[in-house]
Symmetry: C2
Subunit: 454 residues, 2 copies
């Protein structure tokens, strides 16, 4: 029986996928500012034997809709938004096995400082850190982070390719395993000849010296990837150990899964080495009827305008200037083809209007929405797993401090009984949870392992 990998999916802010749901009287998303909120969330996920808490992030403001940020502020679309990295050590201190996946865009980082932050977290968590590698299509990020214009999609991926080489050199190549000797007699803490300067001078990055950090348990964090564009899939095939997909259309989802497995094999890796997780939302109650009532009670708060404004930012298309009832043709915009494809190409027999897109999205609390009793939810998760050839799920935390505890209390025991969710963590690092293989380090056949020193 194939194990189902579970991950919680959140942002360090209020409105994530189910825009408008903050108005539900029981919604506690506004407590994102407190440590108690994060510690409670982490403990819940560990009780449910989740692989990780997977943190989304956005580098800029959703200001495409109407050409300004008013809707984003009013409807709390990815706003307010704190940095997701900073609550991790508090959550790590309250847990022992739960991993933490962080979304960070390469485009706006210095690889040297970024690598140091990830290594520090990997040390402090004892090897429980993952990185969701993105390049960020948000125009607002460019306007606030030092670029005159948004970096074009293909160039962002060229930058990301070089960025990856630099961080592999830092994480895998700079310090040998036995560099730290702590030899008191000889007064040698670190053996200088076992630490290597990078001397990296590329097109986008220049890093000459050795890394400042000693190797952490995983060295390279567990690598996630979430882009489903052609460049994104090729990038995933080379780098990702887990891929996160959001697609409400199951045949479309399956097509992307197949492509990624094929590309992974072409890249010389085991096509099953990449674990594929789909984004879902779950509304569960003891009976199907109660679950449907609970769903109705929640979904009535989802805002159509807010959903449109969020999609406008994700697709970088201003829906406020478009006829909402005119079918969308295939639209080639910079880097967001894949988002559009979900609606226009995955189901070739139908075309979609912007209103239909928004209505479909607003009937979901994020990704494919599953509503029902524990048995119904487990059935549907199993069916989805098989139909789309998935390895697991990222479960959207649409009602913080309620959605995930409900899932852990009601669905996890059902899935455990079916042999689908493990009863105890088998490894101690996030990489071991994700890959199911022993050992905290990158597989020897992984591209990043090529940067190791003999």
């Amino acid at each position: 029986m194939k194990r189902i990998h579970l991950n919680g999916f959140k942002i360090a802010g209020v409105g994530h996928t189910a825009i408008g749901l903050w108005r539900h009287p029981d919604n506690q998303a506004w407590r994102y500012k407190t440590l108690e909120y994060w510690i409670e969330t982490a403990k819940t996920l560990e009780a449910g034997k989740f692989d990780s808490l997977f943190m989304a992030d956005f580098s800029g403001i959703a200001d495409v809709y109407g050409g300004n940020a008013d809707a984003a502020f009013r409807e709390a679309i990815h706003l307010p938004l704190n940095d997701p990295m900073l609550a991790i050590s508090a959550m790590a201190a309250a847990t022992s096995h739960l991993g933490f996946g962080l979304t960070v865009a390469t485009t706006y980082e210095q690889p040297y400082s970024f690598a140091r932050r990830m290594t520090t977290l990997d040390h402090l968590t004892n090897g429980r850190i993952g990185w969701n590698i993105v390049t960020s299509a948000v125009g607002s990020a460019a306007r606030n982070l030092g670029y005159d214009h948004q970096v074009p999609h293909d160039e962002r991926y060229a930058m990301a390719d070089e960025f990856m080489d630099v961080v592999y050199k830092l994480w895998e190549g700079s310090w040998q395993d036995d560099a730290v000797v702590m030899d008191r007699e000889r007064n040698v803490f670190i053996e200088p000849r076992k630490v290597h300067a990078l001397q990296h001078e590329g097109k986008y990055y220049r890093v000459l010296d050795a890394f400042m950090c000693e190797p952490s348990p995983q060295r390279t964090p567990a690598l996630f990837q979430a882009g489903a564009s052609d460049k994104g899939k090729a990038f995933a095939a080379r780098h990702a150990e887990a891929v996160f997909l959001v697609n409400p259309n199951v045949p479309g989802l399956r097509r992307t899964v197949d492509e990624i497995r094929q590309l992974t094999a072409q890249a010389g890796r085991d096509p099953r080495a990449v674990k594929i997780m789909a984004g879902i939302s779950v509304i569960v109650a003891p009976t199907d009827k109660e679950a449907q009532e609970k769903a109705a009670d929640q979904m009535r708060f989802i805002s159509l305008t807010g959903t449109l404004a969020r999609q406008a930012s994700l697709m970088q298309l201003d829906f406020s200037k478009m006829d909402l009832d005119r079918p969308l043709e295939y639209i080639e915009t910079d880097g967001i083809r894949s988002a559009m494809e979900r609606f226009t190409r995955n189901d070739p027999e139908r075309t979609w209007t912007p209103r239909q897109v928004a209505e479909t999205m607003s009937r979901s609390a994020g990704g494919i929405t599953i509503i029902g009793s524990p048995a119904t939810v487990a059935d549907q998760m199993e069916e989805l797993l098989e139909r789309a050839d998935l390895d697991g799920f990222n479960i959207n935390d649409h009602m913080p401090l309620r959605t995930l505890p409900d899932f852990v209390e009601l669905v996890v025991p059902e899935l455990q009984q079916r042999g689908r969710v493990w009863r105890a963590y088998e490894g101690s690092t996030l990489r071991e949870s994700i890959t199911g293989q022993p050992g905290p380090r990158l597989d020897a056949r992984h591209y990043g392992a090529g940067f190791r020193k003999p």
Copy 2:
């Protein structure tokens, strides 16, 4: 009776000030990689009613001595070095009043991302974050963080001036206090007209949009400054709420204190509004004799070569190429005048050789070293406070998990009995602890308060 402000002084690594001391059999600095180490340290400081844990940091490798990094690796000089920001939330969860000061160089940060990180920490700690503003003279940083050459000292301060304006706009000016309304009826989480875009286009930084984070308890973190160059002192007079000085020469220390108070008054602020802390090391035991024995047991591990190599990096002068016994003339190097001044100008009647500098430094565990019984240590701290007109101390943690517990167990009760250390925190934020004034926000007369929206 003037209260003495206490702060712990550390790096997120092994060798900080007392190079070589890692060889002491009881030295636990190597445990810096674990959360337990940080949580234990924070609990100790809070038990001693310290204002803060003050974290030093270095953006690059100490590779001046001998023209390479061998000594830095061998003797663990600021190496290995993790990012100090990432253990804070774990420490904050284990404490309730202790503040956390972070050294971050403006030169290598994007102000928008940096401001977001600090605001996030200020939220999660409930207003307990401070920032030690530096510009970083370490050449290695430039070579790894995107610059072709080290940015010259005066230009670094010009960049820092603009950087400060940008972060004040983000922290003080972008979101009004009442921007977050959470009005469920009107579907308004944030009132758009109460959030202001920066439209900042300066010489070094371009930040056009509004901030992504809602205001944190302190908004601007408590501001520390540590540079004692002329530019540094002027910068402190404008921005700093606390200044941290290291000078083994007490009359020299006093001279710098007087200058800073005078410049602060000239900047239109209360000259006492800037709290001045000096770096000290304390070795305490129940009796003077035991303390002297303990000091001898520790100081024998301090390495002369390691101390020279560390000074070489701090001063950016390669002592390995100099005659160790030829007196140093006044040496004008970029931005490190002040470090040299400690030895060449503070005591105008003597000149110093590199060997004398290193020997003096190696007789200290960091800053002015005080050795004795609790009463002796308290006497000397009080005397130093008066002679140099200080407000408090940064106490170097030269023997981690031993130095600070000893101080808290033996010296703090003595100082409390003398009315010099408070028995309970009076405010809840770091700013309140540092300034002694009620209220978590910047004083209305502070330069940064000028960026507030009416």
